[in-house]
């Protein structure tokens, strides 16, 4: 925790309200996000209990698995989910614009520009909390290897046709969410804590109700009081007034309300199966429907408050102006979305269970690059973030007190003006440390020459080294002038692309050789075996 954000938390305690830790919105928000509020069954891996899902805040779709251990009911749920999510995703897949991408020409090996389609916009999934993102990954993993009846007519329990496809999309969303600064799949708690500091700890911030209570407490109530109520208050039945945002449910809910309701449902189903004639069956079907309605009511009662909270949180976030570079990162999300669309169209197999060596290394490299990019962009977009970097000695701001023209040596001398900056900041500068400032949106580099005055003092002399044009004299406006307020960073603003890694087929011996090699790590693409034990 940086000192500036610690301070913000302490201010939140003393004022009773969350305090800003960002002055602009650092993530792109879609005009039409798809919100998903899932619930899962305790103790079961990947057994959804239900969900509220949709793009219309006033009309969420309620999906429920009345007996979560029943595979057929689970499949029906997933098929319904696919029928909502996939059309939403598809609606972004068809609208494209022309864009350029560099590719390696297979003949010459040179990098060439090719014109390709880029989806003009991309879908955006919002879940309440970070565990919601994990659940999206889990759902993706549980579905993408399923075989449909068309693929394997003989196999028992075929999956409905669109379920494996939904699995692949959810897997893609889940993987993309690991890329710093990406916005295809976001957890609302992450979004809110990125922009506000509450007077409670990061652990407690994972509770959406408590978090919102600090940011936007009802009436004159203090955030602390409202948050504690959201976290702990129960009704006469012992049920939480503000149900957890899921996917895990409160044990008291499971034991007191859900378990009896599921039992009633099971009994009604058994009774229906045992019905001896049509009349009796009609009656018992009514009981079953009533039992199912009971469970639906329970699931809705636990998800609807969270659903409303998610939309309220989005409203709060929309009040902040979007950061200047958020659109740039959203474009990367669109590339990611377009890329996956293309892989599916091309008939590529689902993502493997585990990455091969080259894929893992590529993903890590991308994420490290994106993290550095995000850190730089957020600081450039937001003075409050930059303040944190200045406090950490990674940037400095101040006034130009002197500019002396100087030139490089050599045949064609170029301008190398010396600029003296007065600053209260204490950057970690060493001899010839490179520093950068933003000049018309592009980074201009300078070198630290030394202190004008005592070592570690407040007058820094910098030598500007680029972005001054080709002439002997610098272009108009390319050199700061006396009296200008400037901000330099010790970190780079752009990220260079890393070296290209070998193709997976050329994985070297140090890393086990190509993945196809039987001695190497196997690539399991088989569906999960369906066992009777799936249903206890």
């Amino acid at each position: 925790m940086s000192l500036i954000s610690t301070l913000a938390r302490l201010e939140a305690i003393s004022t009773g309200r969350a305090q800003p830790v960002a002055t602009v919105r650092h993530r792109h928000l879609s005009e039409r996000p798809l919100v998903l509020v899932p619930l899962t069954t305790a103790g079961e891996a990947g057994a959804p209990l239900g969900a509220l899902v949709g793009t219309d805040r006033d009309a969420p779709r309620l999906l429920v698995v009345p007996q979560p251990r029943d595979r057929d009911l689970r499949f029906a749920f997933l098929a319904e989910l696919a029928d909502i999510v996939l059309p939403y995703v598809d609606s972004y897949a068809d609208v494209v614009e022309a864009a350029e991408r560099s590719e390696t020409d297979p003949e010459t090996g040179k990098r060439v520009k090719v014109e390709v389609d880029l989806c003009a916009d991309a879908p955006q999934l919002i879940v309440p909390s970070r565990s919601g993102i994990d659940f999206v990954r889990l759902l993706g993993r549980s579905m993408r290897f399923r075989r449909t009846a068309e693929q394997e007519p003989e196999a028992p329990h075929p999956a409905p046709p669109r379920v494996p496809l939904l699995g692949r999309w959810l897997t893609h969303f889940g993987e993309r969410a690991r890329v710093p600064g990406s916005s295809l799949l976001l957890a609302l708690t992450d979004l809110l804590t990125r922009h506000w500091a509450t007077g409670q700890s990061g652990v407690e911030d994972q509770h959406l109700g408590a978090l919102l209570a600090w940011i936007d407490p009802p009436g004159d109530e203090s955030g602390d009081t409202a948050a504690r109520r959201a976290e702990l208050a129960r009704d006469a039945d012992g049920q939480l007034l503000c149900p957890p945002a899921g996917p895990a449910t409160d044990p008291a809910f499971d034991n007191k309300l859900l378990a009896p309701a599921i039992e009633r449902y099971d009994r009604a189903r058994a009774a229906l199966a045992a019905a001896e004639d049509g009349l009796q069956a009609d009656d018992r079907l009514g009981d079953l429907t009533a039992a199912e309605r009971g469970i639906r009511g329970l699931v809705e009662s636990r998800t609807r408050p969270t659903w409303d909270a998610v939309w309220r949180g989005l409203d709060l976030l929309r009040e902040l102006p979007e950061g200047a570079h958020a659109a740039d990162r959203w474009t990367r999300d669109r590339w990611s979305f377009t890329g996956h669309r293309d892989r599916i169209i091309a008939g590529e197999p689902p993502q493997p269970r585990r990455d091969d060596a080259v894929t893992a290394a590529n993903k890590l490299a991308t994420r490290e690059r994106e993290q550095a990019r995000l850190d730089a962009q957020e600081a450039l977009d937001d003075p409050l973030v930059m303040a944190g970097r200045r406090l950490a000695g990674e940037a400095f701001a101040g006034e130009v007190t002197d500019v002396v023209m100087a030139y490089s040596e050599g045949k064609r001398p170029s301008p190398r003006p010396l600029v003296t900056v007065h600053t209260e900041d204490r950057p970690h500068l060493g001899e010839r440390t490179k520093v950068y400032r933003s000049l018309g949106g592009k980074p201009q580099a300078a070198e630290f020459v030394g202190y004008d005055g005592p070592e570690g003092g407040d007058l820094l002399v910098l030598r500007i080294v680029d972005k001054m044009g080709r002439g002997k004299e610098p272009e108009q406006g390319s050199v700061p002038e006396k009296g200008d307020l400037v901000c330099f960073t010790l970190f780079e603003h752009d990220q260079r692309a890393g070296a290209k890694l070998p193709d997976p087929d050329d994985t070297p011996w140090t890393h086990g050789g190509p993945p196809g090699d039987p001695e190497a790590v196997p690539l399991p693409e088989q569906p999960d075996p369906v066992t009777e034990e799936d249903v206890l």
């Binding site: 690991r178 060596a357 893992a360 490299a365 000695g393 970690h428 070296a499 140090t510």
Partner: protein, 448 residues
């Protein structure tokens, strides 16, 4: 030169045996790789230079992969020192000042940003990052990977296609490589890209011969057992010199102050702990910073002289033979400015990360946990303490607030565990306890 220690252990002979076996496997073995663990000051650079010269002499084109430009330049200079005729290529980036200017004075060294310009030279050296950009070349028959434990698995993946076989050399006890983003997703995979290059290499090639250099020529007899036990419990090493082979003496007697007493203790015992009263402080604890600076000032003022196997005459303990180690950069900056206030400007003050691989006669260390209200994984990292405690040839003075033992005991231990990940030993918590217990025997209470 070095006497056989009283125990009958002949360090010179043991080191020679190890080196011979390594060179035999490297030059004549059939395995694609050879791994050498080298504890602090065990002659890793000497080994790399010697292996390079022998491979070159055998007519085997060699590429050398180091991790930083400073390491690359240092190796180029050492190679030239041993053989000024050897054709060496220094592959470098196109940044400004990509290599040490001293290389311009070496006629045998060709420098270029393109590997093709250096083709045919006996030895080509560069950083892993630069090598990763080299494509479409005939693979080298041999490579030496230096500081392989500080190299990440993904960096090795990028360059391993450039060579047929390789000698991997490094110190497993120093700081591990790290990633700036989470990599839990790949934890437990043999090729986890954030793991060390050696971990991946051995996971896929467990049969490769593994050697270790058994003697530290840097660490004195007073330090080797502690460093070996605390940080290398499964691969112990000895010091090349015995008790009494090295001596640190001061012309000016102690004035009875804390700094002087701890200097005398360290001169006598090899270790000294200057303990400040327990107190929670920010990282740049002014009292501790001042104490570090005072110890350095007194080391210089008291006319220190180091006697060792390197020369017959005592060598003056000058500023360039002293270093200060800290955990954080702001601490280093604070010590530098405190030293400047005392008129000391030419003593190296740096963080553990930057002191890796360096050697001094005396080091003064600000303990990473001094004054902290809590210990974090960063401060407990085994490699950090190991680097700080193993840079010296004669003595190490540690400056620390009291209360670190209690801090360690109160440290919550709720680390997550990833399936399939080999547990790294020793654990930082245990290593810290071991080092503190030893330092406690050489404690001098500071009277501020």
């Amino acid at each position: 030169m070095t006497a056989v220690a009283s125990s009958g252990f002949d360090p010179g002979a043991a080191a020679t045996r190890a080196t011979d076996a390594i060179l035999r496997d490297t030059l004549h073995g059939t395995d694609r790789g050879v791994v050498v663990d080298s504890p602090p000051g065990a002659g890793k650079s000497t080994l790399v230079v010697r292996a390079a010269l022998e491979l070159a002499a055998a007519g085997r084109p060699l590429m050398i992969i180091a991790q930083t430009n400073a390491q690359v330049d240092d190796l180029v200079l050492r190679l030239a020192e041993k053989d000024s005729e050897l054709p060496v290529g220094r592959l470098h980036s196109s940044d400004a000042d990509p290599y040490d200017k001293a290389l311009d004075d070496l006629p045998n060294v060709r420098k270029s940003t393109r590997a093709a310009d250096l083709a045919g030279l006996d030895v080509v050296i560069s950083t892993a990052a630069k090598w990763a950009h080299v494509k479409d070349v005939e693979p080298w028959r041999h490579a030496i990977v230096d500081e392989a434990y500080q190299m990440r698995s993904d960096a090795l993946l990028a360059v391993a296609g450039l060579f047929e076989r390789a000698l991997f050399v490094g110190d497993p006890g120093q700081l591990d490589p790290f990633a700036i983003v989470g990599s839990e997703q790949w934890a437990g995979l043999s090729y986890d890209p954030s793991a060390s290059a050696v971990t991946t290499l051995l996971a896929h090639n467990p049969e490769l011969p593994q050697h270790r250099l058994p003697v530290s020529w840097r660490l004195p007899a007073s330090a080797a057992p502690l460093v070996s036990d605390a940080f290398y419990p499964f691969t112990p090493f000895r010091s090349g010199t015995d008790h009494g082979d090295r001596r640190l003496s001061f012309a000016v007697p102690s004035d009875g102050s804390g700094p002087d007493r701890v200097i005398d203790e360290a001169a006598e015992a090899g270790w000294g702990l200057l303990e400040l009263p327990a107190r929670h402080t920010p990282r740049t604890d002014p009292e501790a910073v001042r104490a570090v600076a005072q110890v350095v000032r007194r080391l210089l003022d008291r006319g220190g002289a180091a006697t060792s196997e390197r020369s017959d005459e005592p060598v003056p303990l000058t500023a360039d033979r002293i270093a200060v180690g800290t955990a954080h950069r702001d601490q280093a900056a604070a010590v530098r400015s405190a030293l400047a206030n005392l008129g000391v400007t030419d003593v190296v003050v740096d963080t553990a990360n930057r002191l890796q691989g360096r050697e001094y006669d005396v080091t003064v260390v600000l303990h990473p946990l001094s004054g902290r209200p809590d210990a974090t994984a960063f401060h407990l990292e085994t490699g950090r303490l190991c680097v700080l405690a193993s840079r010296h040839r004669h003595a190490c003075v540690v400056v620390c607030r009291a209360g670190v033992t209690e801090l360690l005991d109160d440290h919550p231990s709720t680390e997550p565990v990833q399936l399939g990940v080999t547990v790294k030993f020793p654990d930082g918590w245990e290593a810290n306890h071991a080092v503190l217990a030893h330092l406690a025997e050489h404690r001098v209470a500071s009277r501020p």
